[in-house]
């Protein structure tokens, strides 16, 4: 079994002098600072020789005191070993530039584009460096830099200028004021994202082709995003994706809140997975603080996270059903009915339906109420029965099979290359589950199965979700049996959280895939940087290649079977 120490020694022998400093902390995480000119070589070596085939993201940190930017690349493996390599590259603050990894990893594209538009770090060799999340007018303002002065900007509404465009609609623009231009908080260059017209002129070749703009408001979407599909009749030839319509800047906001105040913000990252987001963030901060939650708290967390997984999978499947059927389609509504029961179980503990803010550093907010066990066991019994029914429905109905089988097929190699994780990856025959891979909480003691399917199509993805509901039921039953009594908060957790300077990365299995939080502390009350590595970001990036050559009706089926959540993509 490869350990972090093995990787480190291999790296040191292969690249003498390229590694400036390195440490292994905790066992499975390798932190290393690489010389900027060698980063591509190091990553190539790791990918080819040590199975680091999973690029799980990049984080840019603004070290304003040292006059540096750090870019941390997160590399991991799809099950060959459990080591996470966090490779740091430093670059000066004036004229920052880092070598791009897009040549090695296909999915590095979006991560690097995001860092570029937010921090202004240039990525050498990146194929298409234009804005991803921000609107054109904010480009060049580099809002994530610590010296971004437009922040906080309370007056955005007052500054908007209305103008009627030639097509008769009202356009809004936020023109910078004189003071802002002087203060240097406004754009100095504006690389443009192609407009509708430009894209149409560029892409449309034949008489029978047109571009269909699905979004930002469209019934298919779980939140606003723009999917431009170039269609020839009913066939999709090419798809373009534009996100960022609900970019809220969560990572920047969390830098301006204390650690505790950050917990409710993580809920809003992806509202369907509020508890796992809490877990990932609190886990990372707990690592920084060096504390661990007591056993009972860990069991409570596990129970609630699995319950939350059940409701999320129900909603994901239900949304998929509306997309291939319609909003009056009954089994969709039956799933929502079942989900309400799970929600009331969760609500009886956390007191909220969706955004729970329940997990705390070193414990949980409150204990399980009386009668929770019986209520949950009853609900689980019902859920099992219903899930079996739905599974039978999916396997026996011929319209479903026509709509789902062979639609949006992701081969295992493609799925890994595109950086997909969670149910879509497991549906492509890759047993990759953080609960097994990198056990957090007490999952190592639990008996459960990692569900996989061979086909990799929409049907497989839906089946994986339904099977995972059954597995989750099993896990919850075990937890309810084994849960000990005891305290729910660790002792010695300070009221004002001030972790030691350092960095931590903690990843959990979200309902939709791998969710990781990368937290950097400088010893003060507020984090220097919080980076959320979300699973849906990866799905979205993989969407355009999946959509080529399918029918318009399949576009919604594929997008739906991915169970996307725009809020998390845009953050």
């Amino acid at each position: 079994m490869t350990t972090a120490n093995d990787v480190l020694s291999a790296l040191q022998s292969a690249f003498p002098g390229a590694i400036e400093e390195a440490k292994v902390d905790p066992e499975r995480q390798l932190w290393a600072t690489i010389k900027p000119d060698r980063i591509v070589d190091v990553c190539k070596y790791l990918r080819d020789n040590h199975n680091f085939d999973h690029y799980s993201g990049a984080a840019g940190v603004d070290r304003i005191d040292e006059g540096l930017f750090e870019v941390t690349e997160l590399l991991a493996s799809h099950g060959a070993h459990q080591v996470v390599a966090l490779l740091k590259v430093k670059t000066p603050r004036d004229n920052p530039s880092v070598k791009s990894l897009t040549g090695l990893y296909w999915n590095a594209n979006w991560y690097e584009r995001e860092i570029w538009e937010m921090l202004g770090i240039n990525f050498e060799g990146h194929p298409e460096l234009y804005p991803l999340l921000l609107s054109d007018e904010l480009m060049g303002a580099w809002p994530w830099r610590k010296d971004y002065k437009g922040y906080p900007d309370y007056n955005t509404a007052e500054r908007a200028i209305e103008k009627v465009n030639p097509e008769g609609y009202t356009d809004y623009s936020f023109t910078p004021t004189e003071a802002e231009i002087k203060a240097g908080t406004v754009p100095f260059e504006r690389p443009k994202y192609p407009t509708f017209r430009e894209r149409e002129e560029m892409e449309i070749k034949g008489e029978s082709e047109m571009i269909l703009h699905m979004g930002p408001q469209h019934a298919v979407v779980p939140g606003p995003f723009l999917l431009d599909i170039l269609v020839d009749g009913e066939r999709v030839k090419k798809a373009f994706l534009d996100v960022g319509y609900i970019h809220k800047g969560i990572e920047k906001i969390m830098e301006n809140r204390t650690y505790t105040q950050g917990i409710p913000i993580t809920d809003r990252l992806c509202y369907m997975a509020a508890l796992t987001n809490n877990e990932a963030y609190c886990g990372a901060v707990e690592r920084l603080l060096g504390i661990e939650a007591p056993e009972r708290a860990q069991y409570i967390r596990m129970i609630l996270e699995e319950l939350s997984r059940i409701q999320s999978h129900f909603l994901g499947t239900a949304e998929f059903l509306t997309l291939i059927a319609s909003a009056v389609y009954s089994p969709f509504l039956y799933m929502i009915i079942d989900r309400e029961d799970v929600l009331s179980c969760i609500e009886s503990v956390t007191g909220a339906r969706i955004n729970h803010s329940f997990v705390r550093f070193g414990g949980v907010r409150n204990d399980l109420p009386e009668g929770f066990k019986d209520m949950t066991l009853d609900t689980l019994k019902m859920i099992r029965q219903k899930t079996e029914e739905y599974k039978e429905l999916f396997s026996s109905d011929s319209i479903y099979q026509k709509r789902m089988e062979g639609v949006g097929v992701l081969s295992p190699s493609d799925a890994r290359r595109l950086g997909v994780s969670g149910p879509p990856l497991r549906a492509s025959d890759t047993p990759f589950d953080m609960r097994r891979e990198d056990p957090y909480l007490l999952y190592k003691d639990m008996d459960f199965e990692v569900i996989t399917r061979k086909e990799g199509d929409s049907k497989a993805r839906v089946e994986v979700r339904l099977d995972e509901i059954l597995e989750s039921c099993y896990i919850i039953e075990q937890c309810l049996d084994q849960i000990p009594s005891g305290p729910i908060m660790a002792e010695g957790v300070p009221k004002r959280i001030k972790p030691e300077p350092g960095e931590a990365y903690y990843r959990v299995e979200d309902h939709r895939g791998e969710m990781g939080f990368f937290v950097v502390s400088d010893g003060s009350e507020k984090p220097v940087k919080v980076k959320a590595r979300g699973p849906v970001y990866a799905y979205f990036q993989a969407l355009p290649p999946l959509l080529e050559g399918v029918y318009i009706a399949d576009v919604v089926a594929i997008a739906g079977s991915m169970d996307a959540c725009t809020s998390e993509v845009d953050r």
Binding site: L212, A219, L323, A325, A327, Y329, S330, K402, R403
Partner: protein
Amino acid sequence: MVLSAITEFAAQEPKIYGLIIGLVAAAILASVINVVAMLLVWLERKVMGDFQARYGPNRVGGRWGVLQLGADAVKLFTKEDVIPRGADKPVFVWAPIVAVATTMLVAGALPFGAVIIDGKEIPLVVANMDISAFYIEAALSIMAISAFMAGWSSNNKYSMLGAFRGIARMIAYEVPMGICVISVAIMAHSLNVVEIVQAQSIWFVIAQPIGFVIFAIALITDLGRMPFDQTEAEEEIIAGYNTEYSGIRFGLLYFQEYIVMLLGSILLVHLYLGGWNGPVIPVISFISPMIWFFMKLIIVLVALIWVRVSLPRFRIDQVTDLGWKILLPLSMVNLAWAVVVGLYFA
């Protein structure tokens, strides 16, 4: 006094008298059909609620929410009338009118049950034609043209896709549907709907089960209801051909859908379920055919709603596949069966 004047007039000028009576009947028919369609929307929302473990409208107009559709109508008919920039204005304006007019044409030839006076059955039909079955079938396909007008003139890509889908589907399904009507006509030895009903001593659903299934599927397709609502698939192409329609024009299209649903179900009842045939109920023998007719009609309508809430949608290519590759050959088989049974063994 007045009555005698009228009879005199009728005897003197039978043609003009017939015209006036026809116009009056048409006016009554149009208003009755509109009211019934509104009731049908209400029925659908209530029945749908029942299938989905909820109540449906229950606030407006008492416990049963019967005035819900009144409110909807008041709102729709007083909303702003938007004609989008770049729309083909005359076509855009005429599309809903054509849609409603064609449905009225269909309604004119359909018998709405019958009454028994002096032991004689009198069908309630505005225009009793020799080829009414064929006429209805033809008028139903004109409706696809109105949908196409609506989609094409809207200057919207979604509308246009919906319109194209509508035409593709119409072509694929009119043929098997027409063949089914012919099979029925062969068995009944007539193309007149009234005579077809009267010929059903055995219901044609028993005599031609395959034909019934094909006709039912084709009918659902023609009505554009689940699982064949590709023309206005909300999740794919927003609202299909009526994406750009608002206010009163949308109201017309909306109610027209339900009028067609009503007429289609009536046609199904007449062609396959024996129309108003049924044992005469002694005490109320006057309207006993009507009772049978409405019972059958309501069963068909509820079944249509039931199918709507329980089936997912086909893709458009799968729909046309089904039409051309399965239904068309099967309808041929059905035709052969009808010819053999109807012409040689009858």
